[in-house]
Symmetry: C2
Subunit: 349 residues, 2 copies
C-alpha cells in the first residue's frame, strides 16, 4: 500500500440494485414506478433554459410547491439529490453524538453504510419473528433513531401512534422516519412534525412520483431542524438540485390527479398479484408499498431469482441471513406481473 | 437549546454569490459563462426519457466521453454534482489523517468550510505579497494539499513544474489541483496523473462549458485514487448525476468547436476589459481565468460594489482582511463589459 493510501477513508459501499442496460427485460428489482411521471413533467423539459446560470441554491420553486402541497411552511422543507442525499446529509447533521443510533436489523441497507462512512456508532435492533418492529426496543437511551415506514424490504407499516410513542420518549435525539413508500398505503407522521421539533420525515420523488431519473428527495420537519440541515448542506455543496430537477419536480406536484391515479393502479395490481403468489404457495408479507417481500417453502429464493433473471425478469435478492429465502418483487404493470405469473407457472410445473 | 440539539453538527456554511431573481441585471458575481452551452446541449433535452428509471449509477455515457476527451481510461474519471460535490467527496475520502492539510489563505473559500464540516485539521498558507503561491511553503509534512490552478479569486496561475515539485515531495498524501478555470489560459497538470498516483485533478462544466445550471464536475487521477473516491461516493449516494446531466454533459463534450470558440471570445473580452480597467487606474492581477481581481488606489472596493449593484451590475466582494479592497469581476459579453466601463466612467467622473 502506497504511503498516501494510509490517509484514505476506506469503506464498503452500498450496492444498489442492478441497472441492466439490456432492452426488453422486466425490471422489478429497484422499486421503480412503471407508469412514468405526469405528462406535464416531460413537457416541462421544454422550459429548461438558462443552463449557463447556477440553479437557485434554495430551489425555492420546488420547495414552495412541496410546502404548499403538505400544508407546511417553506422553512420546514429541505430538498436533496434523491432521498439518499437527504438521508446522508441528515446522518451528517443529526447523528453526531457518541451514543449508538438505532435502526432495524432488516431495513434499508444504506443505513449502516452511512453510519460506517461517517463513523457513527450504531446498533441494529432485530425485528420480531414476524418481521415487525417492536416499539419498546426503541425506548432505550441512544444517539438517534431511523427506520422506514413502511419498512423496507418487508413493506410492513407501523401506525403513527407507534412512532409518536417513540418520539415523545426521546426529546434528546432526532428521530428520522423514512417515508419513501408511504404513498402506497401507509399512514404518514407528517402531522406530528408540528408537535415534535425533533422529528424529521423524509420523502422521495423516485417511487410514487415516478421520477427516479431526476433524483429528488425531501425532508419535512421543524424550522430548527431544517435550518440545521441546510447549514450542513450549504457546507457540502451550495447547489445540489439542478435546473431540470427543480422545474420538473415542481411540475409533478401540479398534477395531483395523475399522481393519485397511478398510485391506485399500482395498489390494485399489488393486490391481485399478491393473491396469485399465494396461490402458488408463496408466503407474502403484508406490504403497503410498491413491492412484495415473498418466500416459498419449497423453492429456494436464489433459485427463483436466477431462473427469473434467465427469463428476463429481475427481482431483488439480499444476502442477509434472516432474509436469504426472500425475494423483493417490485409491482410493475398488470402485463408485467402477468408475465411473472406465467414464468412461475412454468417454473413450478 | 433543546436536548436533541446537543447532538447536532453545527457549522458555518459557505455563502455562494448572490443569485438575484431580478431580470435585466448584469450578473458578474459568480463566474458564469455569458454564452450558454453548445446548442447541442439544449437540443439534447429532447432526448431525456425514461425519467421513471434510476440513472446509470456509474454515469458511463458521460464518464466515457470525458475519458476519451482527455485520453485517459474511464476508470480514471470520477463525476459528481458540480466540482463542489467532487471536492467534498475528495475531502471525505482523502483528507482522513491526523495531520493538517494545507491550502492558501486566499483561495476558494469553500476549502475551510469542508475542513470544518468534516473536522479535518487544516492550516492556511499565506500567499506572498503579490498574491502568489510559494512552492516551498508546501514542502513540509502535512495531511494533504489542495489549491486551484489558476488560483481563485486572484486568477493567477502556476506552472505544471511548480505543482510537480510539490507532488513528488509528497508520496505520503493526496494532492488535489482544482482546475475549475484552467480552460481560460492556464496549463493543466493532467499529463502528470500517469506519473503520480496521488495527484487528483478536478474540473467543472460550470465555467468553460457554461453548464452551471446542470451541476456537473469531474476528477481525473490514477485508477486507485478514483476507486477510493467511488467507494466513498457509493457510500453516500448511489445515483448522484441525474439523467439530464448525464445526457447533456455528454452532448457538450461532442461540440469541441463551440467550446473553443466561446472560450476564445471570453479571453479576448478579458484582455480589452483589463486594459480599460487599467486606464481607470485599477490594479488588475494577471488573470488567466474568466474573471479579473482588481483594486483601485482611490476608490474603496465596497463603495464601487454597492454603487454598481445599485446600477444593476453585480460584482463579488469578499470580506477577508487581505482582499477587502478587491473586487472580483466575471468576464461577460463585450456588451456587458462595455456597460461596466460606462458605469465606471460615470462613477469616477
Amino acid at each position: 500500500m502506497a504511503g498516501w493510501e494510509e490517509n484514505v477513508r476506506k469503506v464498503t459501499p452500498y450496492v444498489p440494485g442492478e441497472q441492466p442496460k439490456k432492452e426488453n427485460i422486466i425490471k422489478l428489482n429497484t422499486n421503480e414506478n412503471p407508469y412514468g411521471p405526469s405528462p406535464r413533467v416531460q413537457a416541462a423539459l421544454l422550459n429548461v433554459e438558462h443552463l449557463r446560470k447556477y440553479p437557485d441554491p434554495a430551489a425555492s420553486l420546488l420547495v414552495d410547491k412541496i410546502a404548499a402541497y403538505h400544508g407546511v411552511d417553506s422553512a420546514q422543507v429541505f430538498v436533496g439529490v434523491g432521498s439518499d442525499d437527504v438521508l446522508a446529509m441528515s446522518f451528517l447533521a443529526f447523528f453526531n453524538g457518541n451514543k449508538e443510533i438505532l435502526f432495524p436489523d432488516i431495513t434499508y441497507s444504506f443505513y449502516d453504510v452511512w453510519a460506517e462512512l461517517l463513523r457513527i456508532p450504531y446498533r441494529k435492533v432485530p425485528l420480531d419473528s414476524d418481521f415487525r418492529l417492536r416499539k419498546e426496543d426503541y425506548f432505550s437511551t441512544c444517539g438517534g433513531i431511523i427506520f422506514p415506514n413502511p419498512n423496507a424490504p418487508t413493506g410492513i407499516p407501523v401506525e403513527p401512534d407507534f412512532i409518536e410513542d417513540i418520539v415523545k420518549r426521546h426529546p434528546e435525539i432526532v428521530v428520522i422516519i423514512d417515508e419513501a413508500y408511504i404513498d402506497f398505503g401507509g399512514k404518514t407522521v407528517l402531522p406530528l412534525v408540528e408537535a415534535y421539533e425533533n422529528l424529521l420525515v423524509v420523502r422521495t420523488f423516485s417511487k410514487s412520483r415516478s421520477m427516479a431519473g431526476l433524483r429528488i428527495g425531501y425532508a419535512i420537519g421543524s424550522r430548527k431542524l431544517i435550518k440545521y440541515l441546510n447549514d450542513v448542506k450549504y457546507s457540502f455543496n451550495s447547489y445540489t438540485l439542478n435546473q431540470p430537477s427543480i422545474l420538473l419536480g415542481a411540475a409533478s406536484i401540479e398534477d395531483e390527479e395523475y399522481f393519485r391515479k397511478t398510485i391506485a393502479k399500482i395498489v390494485q395490481t399489488r393486490e391481485w398479484f399478491k393473491e396469485a403468489l399465494e396461490q402458488f404457495g408463496f408466503q407474502v408479507l403484508p406490504s403497503v408499498s410498491n413491492f412484495l417481500f415473498v418466500t416459498h417453502p419449497n423453492y429456494p429464493a436464489e433459485d427463483i431469482f436466477e431462473a427469473a433473471k434467465k427469463a428476463g425478469i429481475y427481482f431483488r435478492h439480499f444476502h442477509n441471513d434472516r432474509i436469504e429465502e426472500y425475494l423483493r418483487i417490485t409491482i410493475g404493470t398488470d402485463v408485467e406481473m402477468q408475465a411473472v405469473v406465467d414464468f412461475l407457472k412454468n417454473y413450478m410445473k
